[in-house]
C-alpha cells in the first residue's frame, strides 16, 4: 500500500468519519519508515488491549520464493545479550529488513538450514560456558548432526569478561562452528568486554550496512510485526542513565562470630516509578574507596589533582579513579598497558607465561600488581591503562508486591587481608562500608526473564540457594505470600554455621510456621566433622525431589557457578537416574527437557 492509496480508502465500518479524519491528519507527512513504525505501534496497542487481535497488516507483496530471511538469535544469561539483540532487531526492522527475534531456547536447531541470514548475540559465563538458553543450539552446531549451511550468511557478537580465562568462548564457538558448516561471515565477529556499549553499537551499524545489499527493497518479505515500543519504554532508568536512589539501611545479617560478612541492603526507589519482578537483578554503580584511590596515587607518585581525560571528559586523576575506572578486579589488558607504559621487565617476563599470569592475577587486585612492579608513568597513561568502571549486578532479594518502592539486596562484603594490606570488593565495599544511610547510589533494574516464578501460582517450586544465593528466593516467597499462591515451596539453604550464617532465619521460621514454606532443608557445612552442602541434602531427599519434579515442580538454583551449581546439577542427574529408573543419558535428557520447558532455571555467578 502506498501513501496515496491509503488516503483514498473509504473509512468503512471500522472507524467513523471523525476518527478517520483524525487518523489521516496525524499521519500526514510521515515518511515510509515512520508509517511502518506507526502501524506496528498501533498493532502493539491493540495487542495490549487484549481480545482477538487482527493479524498484522501485510505491507508488502507476498514474499518472493527465495526472499532472504533475517533471524536474530540470542543466548543471554543476565539479559545483556538479549538487550543488544532487541536493539539490533529494532534497527533491522527500521531499515525494513523484516527481522525475527528469537531466544535460542525457543529456536529449533534444524530450522537453521532454511535460514539465509542469521545474526547471533551470545554471552559467556563461568568457565567459558554457554548461557542456559544457548546450550542446546551450541551443542547441536558442535555435534555430529551439525547441518551444512553453504548458503547461510551470519554475524556473531560475543559478550564476555576479559578477566576470565575463556573470554567470549561461546561467541567464538558459534563463529567457528558456523564457518565450519560452510556459512559465510557478513562481518568479523566482535568480542565485547564488560564495557561493551560502544563496540556493540559500531558492530550493529556495520551489520545493518552489510545486510543492505541482500535486503534491498522489493525482495523483502516485510511482515511488520507488532512492535512494542510502548512496552520497551517502560523502564525509564537504564545502565546508561541510572536512577539516583538512597540507602535506607545496610545491616549485617551474619552473627558476630561468623566467618562471613553478609549484609542486607535496603534501597529506596521512591518516586522513580521503577518496577522490577522477582528474578530481576539490580545494577549498582559504585565509587572506589578513597583509600584505594590514594594508594594508586601514592605508589605511583602521581598528583591526584592532575588533569586527565576519560572518554572525552576532562577531570582530575582522583575523580577519574574514584568514579570512572575499574580499580579492583584485575584484568589482563591493564597488565599489558601498564607494562608498556612503565617498561617493567619483571612484568614483561610474567606476561610471557600466560598460565602463570592468570594465577598471579587471580590472587591479586590491581593495586597488588602495581605494588609488585612499581614503575613510572603519567596520570593519563594510568587512566588509559584502566578500563571503565562497570556496575555490579545483584539478584534482588525483595518483591515489590511486599516492599513497594524499596529494593533489597543480599551482599557478601568482600573484605580480607592479603599481601600486607586490607582488600575490599569495589561494589560490596561501597555498599557495605562507605555508603552512609541516606547516601546516594545510582541503580537500574536488569531484567532477567531466565529466572522467573512459574506463571501458575499452583505450581510447586524447589529453590536451591546457599549463601547469598538465597536472595531471589526471598523475593519469590514474598511474591507468593502476597499472591496467596497455593503452590508448594521447598527451599534448600546452606552456609558455614547454623548459629552465625542462617540468612534471614526469623523470616524463614515465620514462613514455615505460616505454612507458606512447606519444606526448609538446611546444610551447614562446618557444624560437623564432614562438610555437608546443599547437593548432599538434595541427594538425601532425592526420592521426594523427584516426586516434586514429576508433579511439575520448577527447580531453581542461585549462587556460586564454579562449584555449587555444577554439584547441584550432578545431584539432580543422579536423583532422576535413581528414582526415575533411567540411564544416565535419559536422566540428562530429562534435565534438558526441564530446562527447555523453563522449569530448570539458574541465576549463578
Amino acid at each position: 500500500m502506498s501513501q496515496q492509496s491509503n488516503q483514498n480508502v473509504a473509512p468503512g465500518a471500522i472507524v467513523n468519519e471523525q476518527q478517520w479524519n483524525a487518523i489521516t491528519q496525524a499521519i500526514a507527512g510521515l515518511n515510509r519508515d515512520q508509517l511502518t513504525w506507526v502501524s506496528g505501534y498501533a498493532a502493539g496497542l491493540a495487542a495490549a488491549q487484549g481480545g482477538a487481535v487482527a493479524p498484522a497488516v501485510q505491507t508488502a507483496a507476498p514474499a518472493a520464493v527465495d526472499a532472504p530471511t533475517l533471524t536474530v538469535l540470542y543466548g543471554s544469561q543476565t539479559g545483556n545479550a538479549k538487550a543488544l539483540a532487541q536493539q539490533f532487531d529494532a534497527q533491522a526492522k527500521e531499515a525494513g529488513y523484516g527481522s525475527k527475534l528469537v531466544s535460542m531456547a525457543d529456536y529449533k536447531p534444524r530450522q537453521l538450514k532454511s535460514e539465509t541470514h542469521v545474526v547471533i548475540f551470545a554471552s559467556t559465563h563461568g568457565e567459558g560456558d554457554a548461557p542456559d538458553d544457548a546450550i542446546e543450539l551450541h551443542e547441536f552446531l558442535g555435534g555430529k548432526k551439525a547441518p551444512k549451511l553453504p548458503s547461510t550468511k551470519y554475524a556473531v557478537l560475543s559478550l564476555g569478561d576479559s578477566s576470565y580465562e575463556f573470554f567470549c568462548q561461546t561467541g567464538k564457538d558459534f563463529d567457528e562452528r558456523l564457518a565450519k558448516a560452510g556459512a559465510t561471515a557478513l562481518v568479523e565477529r566482535a568480542d565485547c568486554d564488560v564495557d561493551y556499549e560502544a563496540q556493540a553499537q559500531a558492530w550493529t551499524a556495520s551489520v545493518i550496512a552489510a545486510l543492505k545489499e541482500d535486503f534491498s527493497v522489493g525482495t523483502v518479505s516485510a511482515t511488520v510485526a507488532a512492535l512494542a515500543p510502548v512496552v520497551e519504554a517502560s523502564q525509564q532508568y537504564t545502565k546508561k542513565s541510572p536512577f539516583t536512589a538512597t540507602l535506607i539501611e545496610s545491616q549485617k545479617i551474619t552473627g558476630r562470630d561468623s566467618v562471613k560478612d553478609i549484609r542486607h541492603i535496603e534501597i529506596s526507589l521512591e518516586d522513580s516509578g521503577i518496577t522490577y519482578k522477582p528474578g530481576d537483578a539490580l545494577g549498582v554503580w559504585f565509587k572506589n574507596a578513597e583509600g584505594l584511590v590514594n594508594s594508586f596515587v601514592e605508589v605511583l607518585a602521581l598528583d591526584g589533582n592532575a588533569e586527565v581525560t576519560v572518554a572525552g571528559e576532562s577531570l582530575t586523576l582522583a575523580a577519574a579513579l574514584t568514579s570512572k575506572l575499574e580499580l579492583t578486579l584485575s584484568y589482563p589488558t591493564f597488565v599489558k598497558a601498564y607494562q608498556e607504559a612503565t617498561g617493567s621487565e619483571s612484568l614483561a617476563a610474567l606476561i610471557e607465561d600466560k598460565a602463570a599470569l592468570r594465577t598471579y592475577m587471580s590472587e591479586r587486585q590491581l593495586i597488588d600488581i602495581v605494588k609488585d612492579h612499581p614503575g613510572t608513568l603519567t596520570a593519563q597513561q594510568l587512566v588509559d591503562a584502566l578500563r571503565p568502571l562497570t556496575p555490579r549486578l545483584y539478584s534482588i532479594a525483595s518483591s515489590q508486591a511486599d516492599v513497594e518502592e524499596e529494593v533489597h539486596l543480599t551482599v557478601a562484603h568482600v573484605d580480607y587481608e592479603a599481601f600486607g594490606a586490607r582488600h575490599q570488593g569495589g561494589a560490596s565495599g561501597f555498599l557495605c562500608e562507605y555508603l552512609e544511610e541516606n547516601g546516594e547510589v545510582e541503580v537500574f533494574v536488569e531484567n532477567n526473564d531466565n529466572f522467573r516464578l512459574p506463571e501458575d501460582p499452583n505450581t510447586p517450586i524447589i529453590m536451591v540457594g546457599p549463601g547469598t544465593g538465597i536472595a531471589p528466593f526471598r523475593s519469590f516467597i514474598q511474591e507468593r505470600d502476597v499472591q496467596g499462591a497455593e503452590g508448594k515451596n521447598w527451599l534448600f539453604f546452606g552456609n558455614p554455621n547454623f548459629t552465625q550464617d542462617f540468612l534471614y532465619q526469623v523470616e524463614w521460621q515465620g514462613y514455615v510456621k505460616d505454612g507458606l514454606v512447606d519444606k526448609l532443608t538446611l546444610a551447614f557445612s562446618r557444624d560437623q566433622e564432614e562438610k555437608i552442602y546443599v547437593q548432599h541434602r538434595l541427594l538425601e531427599h532425592g526420592e521426594e525431589v523427584f516426586a516434586w519434579l514429576e508433579q511439575g515442580a520448577h527447580f531453581y538454583v542461585c549462587g556460586d557457578a564454579t562449584h555449587m551449581a555444577k554439584d547441584v546439577e550432578n545431584a539432580l542427574i543422579t536423583i532422576v537416574q535413581k528414582y526415575g529408573n533411567k540411564s544416565e543419558a535419559d536422566a540428562r535428557a530429562y534435565i534438558v527437557a526441564l530446562r527447555k520447558a523453563k522449569r530448570y532455571q539458574k541465576d549463578v555467578y
Binding site: 549485617k252 545479617i253 552473627g255 542486607h264 548459629t499 524463614w508 514455615v512 538446611l522
Partner: protein, 203 residues
Amino acid sequence: MSNDQSQFIVEGKLADNERLKRESRNLRGTIEQDLKDDITGGFTADNFQLIRFHGMYQQDDRDIRAERAKQKLEPLQNVMLRARLPGGVILPHQWLAIDKFADEQTMYGSIRLTTRQTFQFHGVLKPKIKLMHQTLNAVGMDSIATAGDVNRNVLCTSNPVESALHLEAYEWAKKISEHLLPKTNAYAEIWLDGEKVKLLSRR
C-alpha cells in the same frame, strides 16, 4: 501442734507445671520432634519447661539478643545442664570425660562448679545435647530431675574417705537422690536411644 492437716492443703488453682507434667506423657512431651527440628536452636511450647525435668534450662546470650534481632537471627539459644551428683562426688575418669566434653563441644569451653555440690555445662547447642547425655551416661552420670520443681541435687558433708560416718552419709545421699527420681524411662528413651541409665548404686 494440732493434728489438723488442712493447713498443708493449698486451695485454688494448681501451678501450670502440674498441667504440664500431667500432659507430658511421663515427661516425654514432644522433645524428640524438637530435636529433629533444625531450623531453630530452641525448644517449643511445653518442651521449653519439660527439659528442666531432664536437667536442662534453655538459655540464650542476652548480651547479644538485640544485636541478633537486627541480624534477623533468632537469639543464640543453647542449654545449660546441671549434673546429678549426690554429695558432689566425682571420680577422676568422670572428670576427664566432662572436661573433654566441655572443652570440645560447648560454646564457652568451661565446666562450672556450683554451691549445690555439682557442676554445670553452659552453652550447649541443640545438636550436641544427645552427645552430652551419652557422654555422662558412659561414665555413670546423668542429669535427671536436677531442675524444675523437684529436689535437684542431694547434698551431704561430702568427703567419704574422711570417716566411716561420712561414707555412710554419702551412701544415703545417693539413695535419697535415686529414690526421688521420677518414675519414667523418658530420659533413657530420649537421650540415650533407649539404653538403660547406669545408676551409681547399681554399677
